[in-house]
Amino acid sequence: MKYFIYIAIWLLSSGLVYYWGKRHTRRRVEEIIQLIQQMRNQDYSIPMKQDDFSVLEDHIYKLFIELVEERERTRQSAKSQIDYLEDIAHQIKTPITNMLLRTETMQDLNQKTQELPLLKKQLQRLNSLADILLKLSSLDAKTDDMKKSEFELAELIDYALEIAEIPDRIEVVVDYSLIGKTIKGDFYWLSEAVINLLKNAGNLAKCTKIKIKADSNPLYTSLHIIDNGGGIAKEDIHKIFRRFYKTPDSKGFGIGLAMAKSIVERNHGTIEVMNVENGAEFQIKFYNVTE
């Protein structure tokens, strides 16, 4: 008899435990469904309960946040794509407008000899824009994979100076600190980046001197290009690496510095700019990557 009561109590209590357990499970499942619902409605408050289900809740929460971030990124890139296309169309329109006006003048006044060279100049400008855009797209598409060869910084500067054609009024000083310093990366792409920095300095009306020096420590090797062209206005300094951003007196397309930045970053480097006495200093750091 006694045993019967024990068994009954045991049965009853385990039944109760089972019932409560079931009820808890059902409630927690409902809470999780509610959490999903709530996140769908863009309420991202973190659930505070601590039990076996919170691990699941945690995972759901993380997945959701990832999806939301991903969606935001897609939206942003679609928007920047549109901005980018608009910028390009704008850049193309300017020389086209110019040329249309000139052809009209040619017809109207029969001034072929005067207008033809100017027409040609605009076409060349349009062509160099196309070249730059093709370069940018091969940088973005990453189809053009960066080579990784070791070379001397001095060689990079020698090559870039040959191509950049800095005007004679500017004195170029290549510091002895470059001697013996090597970096690893894609020679031609990096020379493109350095050419852009040199041309940028060379185009400054006030610039009379460009100094190039190098530095190194166990972490990185750095290249410094310092001009005395008056420096960069405070409101512009954080914008100068943006695509299509250019100061009003610039004759370029506003792509050179942005391209330099992409190239350097794709070669495990960083690029920074700061104002120094009378001018600006561009600093490229090439990090020693261990493979």
Partner: protein
């Protein structure tokens, strides 16, 4: 070997592979007026069908929609037809690949017709005049027996590396050499690269000892003889 006199009597025969009809027409008209014979092919397929005849130079657009320019480049190379490839893209990697496969030179569109003509003539120029072991190119004379190069009749003082580089260019005056080709050939087995002996510095010194336009920099690709 073809001497200069033979060249003057003979009209240069060109195969122009280009799909844009207007561009093809303008090139053809210009070259015609300068006494070249020009045949055109708008596709690689048609170009291949024309290869039973001989051409001196082929101008190959490497961006045609019908198939792979590489195959045609190899076929032309087999037949000993010199090649100038043309492209709208500034795709240095692909250009370098075509040069490695045997193309002699390249032009990116748009190009000036005068430049096209100059390049055709350069590619056609028979490689120097040989007298014994001497090779002459413009003002340069390479004396392989004595391992000497003279410029405008004066012997120039070259390091062994400078001599090796310049003699390669004199022996191949119509070719564009890519940076990697040069590095592989002359720098591969050197120990630590000394600052003064980098490729850029070596070319610079060769220019200083001869003239600035003796070797021309082809931006993003390599170097060619001036």
């Amino acid at each position: 070997m073809i001497g200069k006199a033979d060249l003057m009597n003979k009209q240069i025969k060109i195969l122009l592979i280009e799909d844009d009809r207007e561009i093809a027409e303008q090139i053809q008209r210009y070259l015609h007026s300068r006494d070249y014979i020009v045949e055109t092919a708008p596709t690689y397929f048609e170009a291949r069908n024309k290869l039973s005849a001989f051409y001196d130079v082929a101008l190959v657009d490497i961006n045609l929609p019908d198939g792979n320019a590489g195959d045609l480049v190899l076929r032309l190379k087999e037949k000993g037809i010199r090649m100038i490839i043309t492209t709208v893209k500034n795709d240095e990697n692909f250009i370098v690949k075509m040069l490695d496969q045997g193309a002699d030179d390249f032009l990116t569109k748009p190009f000036a017709l005068e430049i096209l003509r100059a390049r055709i003539d350069a590619v056609m120029r028979t490689i120097s005049v040989m007298e014994g072991s001497k090779i002459t190119y413009n003002d340069l004379v390479l004396d392989q027996a004595k391992a000497m190069i003279s410029y405008q009749n004066h012997q120039i003082d070259l390091t062994s590396l400078e001599y090796a580089v310049l003699s390669l260019f004199i022996q191949n005056p119509n070719r564009v050499f890519t940076r990697d080709q040069l590095l592989e050939r002359f720098w591969e087995n050197r120990d630590k690269v000394v600052n003064d002996n980098t490729l850029t510095a070596t070319i610079k010194r060769i220019r200083a000892k001869t003239s600035a336009d003796i070797i021309i920099t082809v931006r993003g690709i390599g170097y060619r003889m001036g």
